[in-house]
Symmetry: C2
Subunit: 316 residues, 2 copies
């Protein structure tokens, strides 16, 4: 029996763009948009909301900015049947560059922050809410946050007006037991709010941890087509949609989009399960050293990477 | 805190051999044997125990048979510090072809069977026990077995002398909730016996379901290096060893074996997460149609495969 409160948020373009500086052409983005719409997915996170002064369009593709003209080009003339979301990083977007909801094709803004940025994140989220957007705060890298800091952050969030708070496993370090403990803590600390999950796949647990989240009452679920994303990638959307029992969801449009748009990228960029990403997941570390190794010409020399990264640990 | 009752069984050569008719050269098998020994893995399942009359050595490599001479060539002159296991399929091995334990380098025989073969499986398992081997029965494809049949099979197993019974997710169809329900049922129906888990990775859940099994008290855990195996493959051994807290386990020898022996196979054979395998997992079907598709020259035409296989289902 499906739970109507569950919403699925596809992050293919936003999180996938971390791999290629959002250099997806319009055909790619339009095909993903159409497939997600046909599949009944609730939200498409189409990119980041950044000020044009913070990054250059020479280096970054349009989905680093999500300008209204870019969005309109994808939506075209047909009625928009899926909600669009963009992620905002603290300090990368000027408040004045966020249009009022009435002038924007975006429905939701998700504010990503580290624990030390919580005050700024709540400020920005309130600003987005006041401009008319659905708004979330995604507290990243919680696997590295100490208990005192986490409780303080959850306390701040509880006092805020922000209605949706994400549990984010930035490093793919969590086991289902971690999800059980943290989901219960988020629920208890944030009465009346909706909780979301964003999992990474370093230990092949992104889908499993999303299921564990559902069992624990988490209702906003992030995923990407074929798990595309930086490093080990994300919870595969087609698995999640196959698992959920809501009859509005369809798998076939996702399979078609994977064939047409995602598999070609698979030949150009490696994401998913590789030993370097697995090791940073196990060690609860940012994947940056693993990404550097995977981009080098020594990517198959996984023992050398292992030795370098585990030098100061007991994972031997 | 680790649970000393937990034993890890590597199936790299046995299950990996389903991909290539066990055509691994001695260097491969020796390197895996050495790596598993150095990593502290409890058992290496080195192949199938088959009668030479049942299959031809022209077509099948040595690990389809596990003859004593083949085993001795791998073990060499050094002391054997890991237990060796072989799997026996009903009807593929003559009782007289199984040597007494005293004349064999094998420590364990695992009898694989479908539910309708339970009487034969118990007979064969008792025969192996009487010849001196540690023995298990691995009841395959339990995701397709009805409740009445399952209860009858578990009842027969409870009355047998076989001490170790495996829960096998042959089609990679189980979610952690299925593991919870079935593990509890196996435990309750088989008092005094040890339960094992053998998971497949069609839905990227093999590792997660193995963790769920551990939480449910299952103590014999199957895995393979880098998840190598037929179709979607298995629970990755390096993930499992990283997760378990027993200080006797080491990850590095596994990483080195993956680099030297498994990654080269990765260039020749596709195993792991692919849409056709995902679809048979979701549909709880044998992966044979998916394997045929993956071996064809249309392997990236996943929508056509999806349409063909879901014609009579509601996974649309």
């Amino acid at each position: 029996m499906f739970r109507p409160e569950i919403k699925v948020i596809d992050c293919t373009v936003r999180d996938g763009g971390l791999m290629n500086k959002w250099q997806f052409d319009d055909n790619f983005v339009r095909k993903v948009y159409t497939a997600l719409t046909d599949a009944g997915v609730d939200y498409m996170e189409i990119g980041y909301l950044s000020s044009e002064t913070a990054f250059s369009r020479d280096e970054y593709g349009p989905w680093k900015f999500c300008a209204e003209d870019d969005l309109k080009r994808i939506i075209g003339n047909k009625e928009k049947k899926i909600k669009l979301s963009a992620m905002a990083d603290i300090g990368r977007i000027e408040y004045d560059d966020i249009r009022p909801k009435g002038e924007s094709s975006l429905d939701m803004v998700r504010v990503a922050c580290y624990v030390h940025q919580m005050d700024k994140a709540i400020n920005l989220a309130h600003h987005c809410m006041d401009k008319g957007y659905e708004t979330t705060i995604n507290l990243m890298a919680v696997s590295t946050v100490g208990l005192r800091e986490l409780e303080e952050a959850l306390d701040d969030l509880a006092k805020s007006r922000v209605p949706i708070i994400y549990l984010v496993d930035s490093f793919g370090a969590f086991y289902s037991e971690d999800i059980d403990v943290l989901a219960k803590k988020y629920m208890a600390s944030l009465p009346g709010k909706t909780i979301g999950i964003h999992a990474h796949n370093n230990q092949q647990l992104a889908f499993a941890n999303t299921i564990a989240s559902i069992i624990n009452g988490i209702n906003y679920l992030d995923a990407t087509l074929y798990g595309i994303g930086r490093g080990a990638g994300n919870c595969p959307l087609e698995l999640l949609i196959s698992f959920l029992k809501n009859p509005k969801f369809k798998v076939r449009p996702l399979v078609e989009a994977i064939e047409q748009e995602i598999l070609p990228w698979r030949k150009k960029i490696d994401w998913g399960y590789f030993i370097p990403y697995m090791v940073t997941g196990v060690l609860n570390q940012h994947p940056r050293t693993a990404m550097a190794h995977m981009e080098s010409d020594r990517k198959n020399e996984v023992t050398a990477y292992f030795d370098q990264i585990t030098e100061a640990t007991d994972l031997v």
